[in-house]
C-alpha cells in the first residue's frame, strides 16, 4: 500500500490509517494482569496456563476468521497436529527439549495448513465448511487408528518433557514454569499477529473478507493471500497445541475433536472477532464461567452456553468487545449535540 495522494496526506482518515498500528495506552493492561495473576494466585496457575493457551488458540482463529473471513469448523485439526507432534516426539523419538519440540509442532501444523489450504481454499461457503470439518474428522480418525504411535483413544500420557533451557522443570503440581513459558510464547505470537494484521498484507486480508470480487478486480492475489494466512494461522494453532501438550504432559483425541473446534469458535465470537483482543476477552469470560459452572452444573452450563450463542448470533454479532465499543461510542457522542 503506497502513501495516500498528496492532497489527502493531512486528511484525518489518512492519518488514522497511517497511525492505526501505534500502541494504544490500554494495550499493556492484559499483560500486566497476566503477570499479576502469577503473583496473586500461585495456586491457580494450572488454570492460568490453560487460559493462556486458549487465548493463543483463539488468536490463531481470529487471523483466519476475523481478518480473512474464512469460516472454519476444523481449526482444532492444527491444534491437535501440534499437540501430537510434541507428544509423539517425546514418547517415541525421545526428543523432548521443549523449544525445538515447539518448532517441530509449528512446522508440522503449518505444513498441514499449507497442504489443506492449497486445495480447500478454492471453495467457499458451505463446501468450505464441510471440507474443514471433514479434514479434521479425517485427522481424528487417523489418530484413533494409528494407536501404536498415537495411543489411539487413550492418547499419550506422562510425556517426558525436558526442563526448559535445561534448568526449569515442568512441575505438574506447581506449574510456574509452564505459566511463564506459555505467557512468553503468547506474547511473541501476539506481537507477530498484531504486526501482521496492521501490515499491508493484513489490510488486504480485510479487503478480501469485505469484498473478494473487488479485491480480485484491483489485482490482489486473493488465493495466495488466503493460503498464506491459513498457513500462518495453522502454525500458531500448532504452537498452541504443542505448548498445551508440553504443559499438561499428555495428548488425547480431544485435541482434534469437533468439541474443541466449536469451543474456540465460541470463545472468539463471544469476545468479538477481527479485533485482536477479542481472543483475550472471550477466553477469560468463557474459561472463568466454565471453570466455576461446568463442574457444578454441567447441564445447566451447556444450556446457558447454547442460549448465549443464540443471543450472540441474533443480537450481538460483535461479541463483548463490540458491545463495549458501542457503549463507548454512545458515551462519547452523547454530550456533543
Amino acid at each position: 500500500m503506497s502513501l495516500p495522494p498528496l492532497g489527502l496526506a493531512g486528511h484525518p482518515a489518512a492519518l488514522a490509517l497511517a497511525g492505526r498500528h501505534r500502541p494504544r495506552l490500554w494495550e499493556p493492561i492484559p499483560w500486566i494482569l497476566a503477570i499479576a495473576l502469577y503473583f496473586a494466585f500461585p495456586k491457580h496457575l494450572g488454570f492460568g496456563t490453560e487460559l493462556l493457551v486458549t487465548i493463543l488458540f483463539a488468536l490463531s482463529l481470529d487471523l483466519v476468521l476475523g481478518y480473512a473471513g474464512i469460516v472454519t469448523l476444523g481449526h482444532a485439526a492444527f491444534f491437535g497436529a501440534g499437540a501430537y507432534a510434541v507428544g509423539m516426539l517425546a514418547k517415541h523419538g525421545g526428543w523432548n527439549e521443549p523449544i525445538t519440540g515447539l518448532v517441530v509442532a509449528t512446522v508440522v501444523a503449518a505444513a498441514i495448513g499449507l497442504a489443506s489450504g492449497l486445495v480447500l481454499l478454492r471453495t467457499r461457503g458451505l463446501t468450505l465448511l464441510m471440507l474443514t470439518l471433514s479434514t479434521m474428522a479425517l485427522l481424528e480418525e487417523v489418530a484413533n487408528l494409528a494407536h501404536e504411535y498415537t495411543g489411539g483413544f487413550d492418547g499419550l500420557d506422562s510425556l517426558p518433557i525436558a526442563p526448559l533451557f535445561g534448568v526449569f522443570e515442568f512441575d505438574p503440581l506447581y506449574p510456574t514454569t509452564q505459566y511463564l513459558y506459555v505467557l512468553a510464547v503468547l506474547f511473541l505470537c501476539f506481537l507477530f499477529v498484531r504486526t501482521l494484521v496492521y501490515s499491508p498484507f493484513g489490510q488486504s486480508l480485510t479487503g478480501i473478507r469485505e469484498n473478494m470480487l473487488r479485491m480480485r478486480a484491483v489485482g490482489a492475489p486473493v488465493r495466495a493471500r488466503l493460503v498464506i494466512c491459513y498457513t500462518l494461522s495453522a502454525a500458531i494453532a500448532g504452537i498452541a497445541g504443542g505448548i498445551w501438550a508440553q504443559a499438561n504432559a499428555y495428548v488425547n483425541l480431544g485435541t482434534l475433536g469437533l468439541d474443541r473446534a466449536a469451543t474456540v469458535l465460541i470463545i472468539l465470537v463471544l469476545g468479538g472477532y477481527g479485533r485482536l483482543y477479542g481472543a483475550f476477552v472471550g477466553a477469560v469470560a468463557y474459561m472463568a464461567l466454565s471453570h466455576f459452572l461446568s463442574k457444578v452444573y454441567p447441564t445447566a452450563w451447556q444450556l446457558g452456553l447454547g442460549l448465549l450463542l443464540v443471543v450472540i448470533a441474533l443480537f450481538a454479532k460483535n461479541g463483548i468487545l463490540g458491545i463495549a465499543e458501542n457503549l463507548w461510542r454512545r458515551r462519547r457522542a452523547a454530550p456533543a449535540p
Binding site: L65, V71, L73, V119, L120, R122, T123, G125, L126, T127, L129, M130, L131, L133, S134, T135, A137, L138, E141, V142, L145, L258, A262, L265, I266, V269, T299, A300, Q302, L303, L305, G306, L307, L308, L309, V310, I312, A313, L314, K317
Partner: protein, 291 residues
C-alpha cells in the same frame, strides 16, 4: 452361494441404514437448497423426534405407528415455530451467524433432553410383529430392516411425486433454482420456507425414531451423527430428492460394507471420499447447484 447370501444380507443392512439416512437428511437438503441456511441443528430435530417417539411409546402407551405420527407432528410444530421466530431473522445473514445460532440451538436441545429425560441411552422397543426374521427367498433377514426399506421407498416415492407432480413441489424447485425469479412470479416464499422447514424437520423426527433401534438415542445424538447427515447432503446435492436418495443409499451400503470388511479405517475412507468428492464436484454427485 455363501458369498452371495453374505452380499445380499450386507446390501440389505446397508440399504436399511441408508433409508434412515435418507429420511433424516432429505429435509436438510431441501432447506439448505431453498434457503441457503446452514442448519447444523437438523440432527437435533431428528433427536427430538426420536425422544418424542420413544417416550410416547413408553409413557403414553401409543403403538409404534401412532407414536411415529406423533413425533412427526410434534417436531414439525416446534420447528415451524422456531423458523418463524428465530431462523427467519438470519436468512441472508453471514454463514458464521447461522453456524453459531444453530450450534447454540443444538446445545440447548442436548441440555434440555439431558435435564428432562436423563443422559442415558433410550432404547426403542419394537412391537413384537417387527421383531424376528422374515424369509425373503434367497435369505432370511430381520423383519425390521425390510420394513425400514419399504418405508424408505414409500417416503421417497411420495416425496418424488410431491416434488415433481404438485404445484407446491414446482414452487419449491423454482425457488431452489432461482429464488428472486420465483419471488417475482408471485410465489409466497416465506410461507414456502415455513412449510418445507416444518415438513423436513418432521421427516428428520421420523428418521430419528425409525433409526433409534440401531443408531441409539442419547443426548449426544445431535452432534454425533451430524457429520453423516451433512455428508449425505453434500454428496447428494442441495434441494435434490433423488440425489439425496442415491447418496444416502451409497453411504449406507458403503459404511455397512466397510465396517464389516475393514472394521479399522472404514470411517476414514468415507471422510477421505467426501473430501475428494467435494473438491471434484462442489455441487455434489447428483446436484446441479454448487453448495
Amino acid at each position: 452361494m455363501i458369498f452371495g447370501v453374505d452380499v445380499a444380507s450386507m446390501l440389505l443392512g446397508g440399504v436399511a441404514a441408508g433409508m434412515v439416512l435418507f429420511i433424516v437428511s432429505v429435509g436438510l437438503s431441501v432447506t439448505m437448497g431453498l434457503m441457503g441456511f446452514v442448519n447444523l441443528a437438523h440432527g437435533g430435530f431428528a433427536m427430538l423426534g426420536g425422544y418424542a417417539i420413544v417416550l410416547a411409546m413408553k409413557h403414553g402407551g401409543l403403538g409404534f405407528a401412532p407414536a411415529l405420527a406423533f413425533g412427526f407432528l410434534a417436531v414439525a410444530a416446534v420447528s415451524a415455530l422456531l423458523e418463524r421466530v428465530l431462523y427467519a431473522r438470519l436468512y441472508g445473514a453471514d454463514e458464521l451467524d447461522q453456524v453459531l445460532f444453530t450450534i447454540g440451538l443444538v446445545f440447548v436441545m442436548t441440555a434440555s433432553v439431558t435435564l428432562l429425560v436423563g443422559p442415558e441411552n433410550q432404547p426403542l422397543v419394537l412391537p413384537s410383529i417387527l421383531q424376528g426374521q422374515i424369509d425373503l427367498g434367497i435369505t432370511r433377514y430381520r423383519t425390521y430392516s425390510v420394513v425400514l426399506i419399504a418405508t424408505g421407498i414409500a417416503i421417497a416415492a411420495g416425496l418424488w411425486v410431491a416434488f415433481e407432480r404438485t404445484r407446491m413441489g414446482a414452487q419449491i424447485r423454482a425457488a431452489v433454482d432461482n429464488r428472486r425469479m420465483a419471488e417475482s412470479l408471485g410465489i409466497n416464499i416465506r410461507r414456502l420456507f415455513t412449510i418445507t422447514f416444518a415438513f423436513g424437520s418432521g421427516l428428520a423426527a421420523l428418521g430419528g425414531g425409525l433409526g433409534a433401534e440401531f443408531l441409539g438415542l442419547d443426548p449426544q445424538y445431535a452432534l454425533k451423527y451430524l457429520v453423516y447427515f451433512l455428508i449425505v447432503v453434500a454428496v447428494g446435492g442441495l434441494g435434490r430428492v433423488t440425489g439425496v436418495f442415491c447418496a444416502a443409499l451409497l453411504i449406507g451400503v458403503l459404511d455397512f460394507a466397510l465396517k464389516k470388511y475393514v472394521p479399522q479405517g472404514g470411517t476414514l475412507f468415507i471422510y477421505a471420499l467426501t473430501i475428494l468428492l467435494l473438491l471434484w464436484r462442489p455441487q455434489g454427485l447428483f446436484g446441479g447447484k454448487a453448495i
